[in-house]
Symmetry: C2
DNA sequence: CGCAAATAATTCAATCGCTGAACAAATAGC
DNA sequence: GCTATTTGTTCAGCGATTGAATTATTTGCG
């Protein structure tokens, strides 16, 4: 916590009030906010006025009806306020989307193509084309973009360099430098780079947090694709680790005397619950399926009662459960979200995961652990990326207000 | 983050300034603090005056010498300010200590006795005797006690009830209720209970954080005793999990097809790197050694070149390394501290732990993980308990100042 | 030795944002 | 149409920070 200057007071209260408006189930009145926060109605009015003139908040016309007295005017996040641009590079598709302050997806494009043969520079050039279309669409809807975030299936350092994205074949790719020619993804505003690069699993977890007001404050979001990544959300904020490389769950040993893994260990989770492992166990050659349909195909087979598929899923679920139990023991989380390719497979993965948790988590007897599929599907990472931009504005509105003024 | 009222400004700045004084390497001057925090020298002077009249800070007479100009007056945490009382119940000893604001241990008593035959009530009665002596000693030194914390080798819920302490044989022990007759451990002040009960591993980790200014902001502290517990410190704060039950590292599977464990799983870490497992592997019957000397005995044997001991330690270190690698992958930590019974064994445990980390942690190649023994020895938990009390004051001085006024 | 330069800390009027109470606005119920 | 009730705004007052000026204390230099 930095020092609190005179002006910080208003900055902090702008964040507090806007945060309450964003988190509220129904549009709160100024009086509600005053009661909730402990601030005076006078102060709340002044703060709200700043937020309204800054186009972050609008008054909801159909005010919620009460008993007697002057009717309250509900406050909601502005639909025409700043929006976030989300981008994603993945193994077999590119995606872009625009999410407004209220969390609505206002634009969404997916471009399917095998990215592996392309150089990183070429892939990014194609991505810029998508970004430009998204920008144009946003402008047509009167939405100013406040920033962008790019989701990548790999490890990203603070500078935005992709250190390693195995399934993409990327290694030490300096994304910001490669985008240098493509303003306005590169103009730095207020010290915030206009494009943040982050791990796909992290951003997908943020997407889940953003998807509904019912999201718990702390949970583990597991993205099951070729690799297995986890996004850790603690108290409503993404936990990134010392260098931003948290969530590497794929190499927790679940059968240490088991199959060798490319990481050098043995019996890693990825070798038992990764997409390739499940497909192989189910008797499906991986090569003839595009990655995005593999999970749905498996779900169809399981639905149809295929013994091979059911056995493969049970096996994978058990391995996943061993790893999840370890994480729950370590972090004492009460919710686990199955995302990415696991989402459609949740009906079959859930039982063995729960079984392992109740076997191995000492505290599960006192307070049960919830395991549920992700609310967002395969779009979680892009939507989460765009959401992370608007979320930053909600968490610190004075930055945007100063820029807009 | 709650709303910020007018008066919160000063409260926040008191915390900011006191925090800087506590964290500084050498006594900072008011001017230093102003430069660091961005506050005006005028404001810092006012804030510091509050801290000095509240007996939290004093001026260090031998001011650090500079070039020219009026010499600065260094500010340090007051040695005669509020102190914390730390208590510990463990399998074969009770302990109490008093730590002052500056982190110095001003009192320390250990009472050795096998606690397992005693009822929880009897054990706590003996503990109160220690606490009373510590109080008297503190009073004799002019130290007002600001609160107490009790370390227990088990799971504790929010109300202070020990839900399960297997090695102590405790189950659902309502510690605050059992201490009800023993004021002043029970009078609630400012909404803060005078006695906080917490897990031993958590408090030991806090002790490590408190032990030196060189402690990293985020680390994993592993307490190896009969069970294996971990304290997770993230950004200088203990991470407790949703219900305060984080850090159960003992049941991470390291040999899943291996030995059955009392938790119901197989091949848990505890069965390979727990004290009993190491002693058995080294050919030492456990029964004939008091728990506190087992580790030193092992260290002696290893020092003397005993093959059995060296092999046992290598085996345990490898198992520990597998689990630690999993945690490091998940949380992206850069420091692991070997505490409790592991501290004296660190020379032999470190190499296999590091080997497993470099094998299994993908990112270890870019930035190495430090593994080191704990700075505090077996006293870490008591000292950490007392430290947690003074730490709370440093984090929120206005609470103490209001009480003292 | 005396004086200028430099750095530390304090004083004080000005200012910014919150507070609390009074007031205006708008509606339901009688 | 009147009253009770609740919402939202206005305004004087106040607390905390600010910034410039002032005082305090030492080093360096002639």
């Amino acid at each position: 916590m930095g020092a609190v200057r005179q002006g910080s007071l208003r900055e902090l209260n702008l964040a507090v009030v806007l945060g309450r408006i964003a988190a509220a189930e129904r549009p709160p009145s100024r009086a509600d906010l005053a009661a909730e926060t402990g601030l005076t109605r006078a102060t709340v009015s002044a703060v709200v006025e700043d937020l309204i003139t800054g186009r972050l908040v609008t008054e909801a016309e159909p005010a919620p009806r009460a008993g007697a007295g002057r009717p309250a005017r509900g406050l909601v996040l502005a639909g025409d306020g700043p929006a976030g641009l989300g981008l994603e590079v993945n193994v077999d598709y590119l995606a872009a989307c625009v999410v407004d302050l209220a969390g609505r997806v206002r634009h969404h494009t997916v471009h399917r193509a095998d990215l592996r043969p392309l150089s990183p520079a070429d892939a990014l050039t194609r991505l810029v084309a998508l970004a430009v279309r998204a920008r144009t669409d946003a402008a047509a809807q009167g939405l100013p973009l406040a920033g962008a975030a790019l989701a990548v299936p790999g490890l990203v350092d603070d500078a935005g360099t992709v250190r390693l994205a195995p399934n993409l074949g990327w290694r030490d790719v300096p994304v910001p430098a490669l985008l240098a020619g493509h303003a306005p993804l590169t103009e730095r505003v207020d010290g915030v780079p206009p494009l943040v690069v982050d791990n796909e699993a992290n951003l997908a977890a943020l997407g889940e947090l953003h998807a509904g007001p019912a999201a718990p404050a702390s949970f583990l979001h597991i993205t099951g694709e070729v690799g297995i990544g986890a996004g850790i959300v603690l108290d409503g904020a993404l936990f990134r680790g010392t260098r931003g490389w948290s969530g590497e769950i794929g190499h927790i040993p679940v059968r240490p005397e088991g199959r060798p893994c490319r990481c050098g260990g043995r019996g890693c989770l990825e070798r038992y619950a990764g997409q390739e492992a499940i497909l192989a166990a189910a008797g499906l050659a991986e090569a003839d399926l595009p990655a995005d349909t593999a999970a749905t195909r498996l779900a169809e087979l399981a639905e149809a009662g295929s013994t091979a598929a059911l056995d493969a899923l049970h096996e994978a679920g058990t391995a996943l459960g061993v790893a999840v139990a370890a994480v729950v023991n370590l972090l004492d989380l009460d919710t686990v979200v199955l995302g990415g390719g696991y989402a459609p497979l949740a009906p079959w993965l859930r039982p063995p995961v729960l079984a392992e948790i109740s076997r191995r988590v000492l505290t599960a007897a006192w307070s049960p652990v919830t395991v549920r599929p992700a609310a967002l599907g395969a779009d979680a990472a892009v939507v989460g990326a765009a959401g992370s931009v608007v979320r930053r504005i909600i968490a610190w509105p004075s930055g945007w207000l100063a820029r807009a003024a």
